[in-house]
Symmetry: C2
Subunit: 219 residues, 2 copies
């Protein structure tokens, strides 16, 4: 397997020099994001739905109740696009034109596949669970049969992918640097707060290792 994704009409980034087809970059951004934005076509119209995802090699899994439109539609094996974006900061240029955001984003193109195999289905649910809260799968009871049956899993194999990353300072109009206008970056940070046990927590039950590991971590 090559270290970069091949570039075709689907994933070629048309403008600017921020495109990155490196597998390591693409996969790291996919893995860092909590929410994936999944696009598909219904009656010729685009639909974009936020989903929880997880990755296994070159496959991205999403899951949901079997009755949702997304699961029913993607189960037909249609083309799908999955996008994730992490917002890292506000780029404050000396002009509106050169103001921007710092971000890391990935766009994946593939074909959706309904996961029918029981082992792959179980493994995908573990991957998605662990993506959101690493270590949790081993802390909880196994899935019940009725839960497995109610949950649809869709696999999207990465057929084409690209990352775009913007980092660092504004790049201003040269003449604007001589004006007394502020330019710089305001960082955006997503962090996990202190865990809040729910109203039905039994006395003496402590915060588990998976949850404790999140506290104060970047989200």
């Amino acid at each position: 397997m090559t270290e970069t994704y091949s570039v075709d009409r689907r994933n070629k980034v048309r403008v600017g020099n921020r495109a990155d087809y490196d597998r390591t970059t693409v996969q790291a951004i996919l893995d860092a994001a909590l929410i994936a934005h999944v696009g598909f076509v219904v009656d010729g119209r685009p639909v974009v739905i936020p989903m929880i995802h997880g990755r296994d090699g070159e496959t991205v899994y999403v899951h949901g109740a079997k009755a949702t439109r997304l699961i029913k539609q993607l189960a037909k094996g249609v083309p799908a696009c999955l996008e994730v974006t992490l917002a890292d900061g506000i780029v404050v240029g000396r002009s509106a034109f050169h103001s921007s955001m710092n971000y890391r984003s990935v766009v994946v193109h593939g074909t959706a596949r309904k996961v029918e195999d029981a082992d792959e289905h179980a493994r995908a649910l573990e991957i998605v669970t662990e993506h959101i809260l690493p270590g949790r799968w081993a802390e909880v009871r196994p899935m019940l049969d009725k839960e497995v049956k109610a949950t649809g899993v869709i696999a999207i194999e990465i057929e084409a992918a690209s990352a775009k990353v913007r980092a660092g300072e504004p790049i201003d109009e040269e003449s604007d640097y001589d004006t007394p206008v502020w330019g710089g970056v305001v960082p955006l940070r997503t962090t996990y707060g202190a865990p809040e046990g729910d109203s039905r927590l039994l006395p003496g039950v402590e915060v588990p290792a998976s949850v404790a590991a999140l506290t104060g971590k970047a989200g």
Copy 2:
């Protein structure tokens, strides 16, 4: 104008009781989000691209370099879907099945329109700039002609929209509440850090009011 968006095939939420068609809810979520995920169809395939947006009444604007695929494609007046999601927390259920996320999301369906009118074009750029950094428009010089000409603006009128909101505790399998397994929520917070002036900042230039107002604020 009614207080809710009408429900049709495009925006009907199929599963669960978290759908909200209230205009105030939809608009507040659109306004709170920094990044919009814009879906459109190219050669029968879905494409989803992250964009900066801004809202004026029932119109959502996005902007970008005229040469980008998104601007060129949407300029044709095609159907578009715009989705935003704010992640508010990890819902830690007592089982994998009942684990989830707290979030606020909106899906908007509309038809893209290339903004040709000079006044609307200028106003849209102000709206998008102000959406990311309120107060900034008045602090910077006017757009240069070459900047205006290089920037494509797309309007998406909200033809159908829905919000989905999940908040609060996990809703666990009743029998799991009797087990000594932790359940609760880990809040996710996105905040602005301290502004970082860039390497070419002139001596004595202070952080402007727009940027100062962000510091410590929720993002």
